[in-house]
């Protein structure tokens, strides 16, 4: 079982939380006037509903028994009028309520999306895409349902409950109190199951989210699954996950549906009490049969709002569980943010400086250890070193995807933490290890580097990285539709597009992270030429494994174990005969062998 399942399961210790409730209801605040209007509509409808029995009674008692035909027609007309009013109110109410609900959902999705957009890389690292998505879709829906439907219902049901209680008390307060004495029993029952229900719903949601994560992984990793013929084991795992969800779900439902029989029973006991006590009062001559009959009618209605409350309550618990997960995202502070007094980065000249920079992705970890480096504007810098030495981390810090734990990173003398992210990053061009192609067209994907770029500029960028030729060879040229995982394109083609995208951004600082590795030597040579032209006037950081690429760099940093162990030009480092010399010669040994073999 993966860690995420455990991670989700740990969240189950979550209690009813007034703060969360208030926060959920907060989403209704902007819609308050509309809700008040809706409430008044509902009150009208409730009033008509309560009034109808009286009207019917009048029709029967006065008009029919009194054989008064004109009165009958008069009352029927009123009846019809009230019904029309009710119809219009209901129509308006349906519209208002659903509109509010949809708008609240829209607003929540928007807020959540905007927020996770601002979160830094540490949030995304190791968090499966499926789980993030489940929160923006499923959990938001659960909250929306509660906030939308339940709140209005709560109001109207409370009102009719109050009405019934008042009527019952005014009819016979002793009998009324006798009936109400059963309420604590109901509350006791609710109190006992509440905790279990709440935890249960949390576990159900967690189990559902594991299922989503599994599905997402299955879909994205299908090739590997099929290659290793793991379908059966994968199915077994899925089976386990669904079974677990079903067990959790049925566990909660078993408790929850107990509610109806309990209400039923309490209702019956109440009726029994009224019959018994009512008969005593009747024998004492203080109560009429008609009064007992009427009282019983009201007692019947008394339980209706109570059972409505129960379904509202369970919806609330379900929403509470979801809100925990949604608010957890909303409350995650982005670690890399603009300082309050951050200034706009002026146009970058390209002087980069690391001063005693230390960094670890987790607490206590040390990926970089007091790294210091200086790069002059326009220099091309190559970072060299074994995997895991910290090359990517240097790039991550330079792009300010993370902030250093100690020391500072400065560009043109500005500490990166003192300038706004947007003004800084928009002057960077970055090609990362994993090239991501968005669904759209090739043109749109290149345009991602500079929105609204002219077609000529896009073509120029594509030509510069030698992507133009293969693009023109495709059926629709630049309008060729690309898909999310870029499957219409080969890995190399994807990278060429990523290059074009980065170049179009016309960055002051260019960062290439191992991106050249998937392009064949021939194409790469062409790119190298193009790059040399384009790098002019820009500072560039390159992580490339091919030493031939690195040789052309102005400055080489050899990194090992989080430290810079050598730096200088290729020439200097070769003469030094240190680590770089070692790396360089191992690659070339084979070439030398081949030449001599021929």
């Amino acid at each position: 079982m993966s860690i995420y399942d455990q991670d989700e399961m740990e969240q189950q210790h979550e209690q009813f939380d007034r703060k969360k409730l208030v926060r959920m209801l907060g989403y209704l605040r902007p819609h308050l006037p509309r809700l008040l209007l809706d409430l008044s509509l509902m009150l009208t409808v409730t009033a008509i509903n309560l009034g109808e029995p009286v009207l019917t009674m009048m029709i029967i008692d006065k008009a029919i028994k009194g054989k008064d035909l004109p009165l009958l027609y008069q009352l029927i007309t009123i009846f019809l009028g009230l019904r029309i009013v009710m119809w219009l109110c209901n129509r308006w109410h349906t519209r208002l309520l659903n509109r509010t609900g949809q708008e609240v959902l829209y607003e929540m999705r928007r807020e959540l999306f905007n927020h996770i957009q601002c979160l830094s890389f540490d949030f995304y690292d190791g968090r499966p895409v499926g789980k993030i998505m489940a929160r923006v879709t499923n959990d938001v829906n659960a909250i929306g349902q509660f906030v939308n439907g339940s709140v209005i219902q709560l109001f109207t049901q409370s009102l009719s409950l109050v009405g019934i209680i008042v009527v019952m008390l005014s009819m016979h307060w002793k009998l009324a109190l006798l009936c109400f004495s059963l309420l604590p029993l109901l509350l006791l029952f609710l109190a006992t199951i509440e905790n279990k229900l709440e935890n249960g719903w949390l576990r159900v949601r967690a189990a559902e989210s594991s299922i989503n994560a599994h599905l997402n992984e299955t879909i994205t990793g299908m090739q590997v699954i099929q290659l290793f013929s793991r379908q059966d084991l994968n199915t077994q795992k899925f089976h386990r996950l669904i079974r677990q969800k079903i067990d959790e779900y049925m566990g909660v439902v078993k408790l929850e549906i107990f509610f109806w029989p309990v209400i039923e029973l309490l209702g019956a006991v109440g009726t029994g009490l009224v019959l018994w006590y009512g008969t005593r009062e009747f024998m004492a001559g203080t109560l009429t049969v008609g009064a007992i009959w009427a009282f019983l009618q009201y007692l019947d209605r008394f339980w209706q709002p109570l059972s409505a409350f129960s379904s509202i309550y369970s919806q609330m618990l379900s929403a509470m569980a979801s809100s925990h997960r949604v608010f957890e995202f909303l409350d995650t502070e982005p670690k890399v943010i603009d300082a309050p007094d951050a200034i706009t980065m002026p146009e970058i000249v390209g002087h980069v400086e690391f001063e005693n920079v230390s960094f670890g992705y987790q607490e206590g970890q040390c990926v970089l250890d007091k790294v210091s480096l200086q790069v002059q504007p326009g220099q091309t810098v190559a970072l060299v070193g074994p995997t895991g030495a910290g090359k990517s981390t240097i790039i991550n810090l330079l792009a300010r995807f993370y902030d250093p734990t100690a020391g500072s990173v400065r560009v043109d003398g500005y500490d990166l933490r003192d300038v706004t992210l947007k003004s800084y990053r928009s002057q960077l061009g970055i090609v990362l290890q994993d090239t991501f192609i968005f669904s759209g067209t090739i043109k749109e994907n290149i345009e991602y580097g500079r929105l609204g770029a002219e077609m000529d500029d896009i073509i120029a960028a594509a030509k510069a990285v030698n992507a133009h030729d293969f693009i023109m060879r495709m059926s629709d040229g630049y309008e060729t539709v690309t898909e999310e995982r870029g499957s219409t394109l080969s890995t190399g083609q994807r990278q060429l597009i990523a290059f074009a995208r980065a170049l179009l951004a016309n960055p002051r600082i260019l960062i290439l992270d191992e991106a050249t590795s998937s392009i064949d030597t021939e194409t790469e040579q062409l790119i190298q030429q193009a790059m040399r032209r384009l790098l002019q006037g820009r500072t560039a950081f390159v992580i490339a494994h091919r030493l031939s690429t690195i040789r052309n760099a102005d400055l080489i940093f050899v990194i090992d174990d989080g430290r810079i162990i050598e730096h200088g030009s290729h020439w200097e480092l070769m003469q030094k005969q240190g680590k770089y010399y070692e790396l360089y010669t191992t690659q070339h040994q084979h070439l030398a062998d081949m030449v001599s073999a021929n």
Partner: protein, 587 residues
Amino acid sequence: MATARRLVKYITPHWLKALLMLLGLLGFMGLEMVPPLLLREAVDNAIPNQSMPLVLALAGGYIAVALLRGGFSYLQWYCSESLGQSISYDLQMSLHNHLQLLHDEYFRKQKTGDIMSRVTGDMQSVTHVLSWGLMLFTQNCLTLIGALIVLLRLNWRLTLISLAAFPVMFVIVMRYDKVIRPMWQQVRQEMAKLTTVLQENVSGVRTVKAFAREEYEINKFDQQNRVYLKTNLKRVTAESNALPLIDFISGLSIIVLLAVGGRQVILGSLTLGTLVAFQSYIWKLIWPVRSMGWLINSLEQALAAAPRLFAILDTPSQICDQPHSFPAPAFRGQIDFVDVSFQFDDGAHPVLHDVSFSIAPGQIVAIIGGTGSGKSTLVGLIPRFFDPTAGTIYIDGQDIRQFTLESLRKQIGMVLQDTFLFSASIRDNIAYGRPDATDAEIIRAAKMAQAHEFISQLEQGYDTPIGERGVGLSGGQKQRVALARALLMDPAILILDEATSSVDSHTENLIQAALDEVMVGRTSIIIAKRLSTIQRADLVLVLEEGAIVEAGHPAELLNQDGTFQRIYRSQMADPTAEANTARGEGR
């Protein structure tokens, strides 16, 4: 209709649960008739006669009935929920398992977010209706029929007059059904689009951030979010036009009854008692009719969602075991491509055409070629990710389509260009192809892939969990884990599709040395760029635009004036480059 019939099939295996649910329902509804009788008895006889024992007996009976009804309602709800879960289990399992059968090309075309929204959201609304909706529907029908029979027997003329408005209502219901169906379909589609935007954004977050495009993404999401909102609001308008109207018209029958019946009572052709009884039954009739409106709503939701599920289930797998396929014997490793061509379904260009070559058992083959020349597709044909559009691939002289997929793939160790690791421990990832592998075997494979060293340095070693896309590891580390995973399979045929592209050259050399040992006795096909790797090959295939333009021993090819020589030269063009750097140094 076909959709509905197909949906019902999902209930049949669980007929017992459905039956029990129905039983609970009948019991619950049947007993509903009893309490009023008990009450009437109490009010008409027991209380006026001041008979306390009878009152107490009636009260007791009342409680007993309540207990029974509680039991029935529990049964009904439990079975309905359980039925829903069972159906969702079946649906999800069949979707999941069918997806696993589908061929590679399907996943290249279909967006992950779209498939996800089908197997989660759409699936839920289908199950919801099949369990809960069905129960409600049955309950409504039963009440409707029951009340109608009683009414007709009481006074058929009055019944017909009272229900005169019902045909109008049915017309409205039908029309509403017609209007709301495409609306629900649209809502589903827009939701899928929204999910896709979200999915892409989350998957591509690094690119988004690298280009500081958060605002653009926020706008993109907002746009789709708004479209979704609007689509929903349109549906809401249709709903609010129809549902309260249905309410109103069904309520009309009460008014008509009071007017017509009241007049008859006054004129003496009807008793007051009948009128009162009539009225209470009409009420019972109205409720189910009213709820039909929103029952149709959720039914349409499900009917809109169901085809999206069936679309997955109905996609035939293009790559599957053939009727007479048999398990492959242990391969010696002879591979022959005979006039193999390949073209994607939608592709305008053939990716490969007329590719023929032979590989002897134990040979090392290097495939080189430019970007998009078809290298990955060519090697993908061997484990049958795709089947050739024309031509045949033989292993040990047998057409590979004759083997069962599993037996074929089990003997092929492949490291793909895009490294995909699962969110599990490193150990589980390496043992992916052989879950029963011992620790010693896993460590041996990791050592060969030069992964052991960095794994041991991790705090939790082989138990270190890695993220969905192995985010915690660098590209080179991921590739080495994937290599170990393939090596552990001890495959007869080893295919490395740029398996070490993200590994630094020092480590690559170590891997290469280990591979030299591993490759003995195996047929190995390597897509590589580095000459150091190509040099080791027995056979080099140079691919250009889907065709083999050069083939032969590297030493041979070096003496031919062709692509290979050109690539060789470009890599060997180092001395001049060194001179350039030396000059640039002075800056």
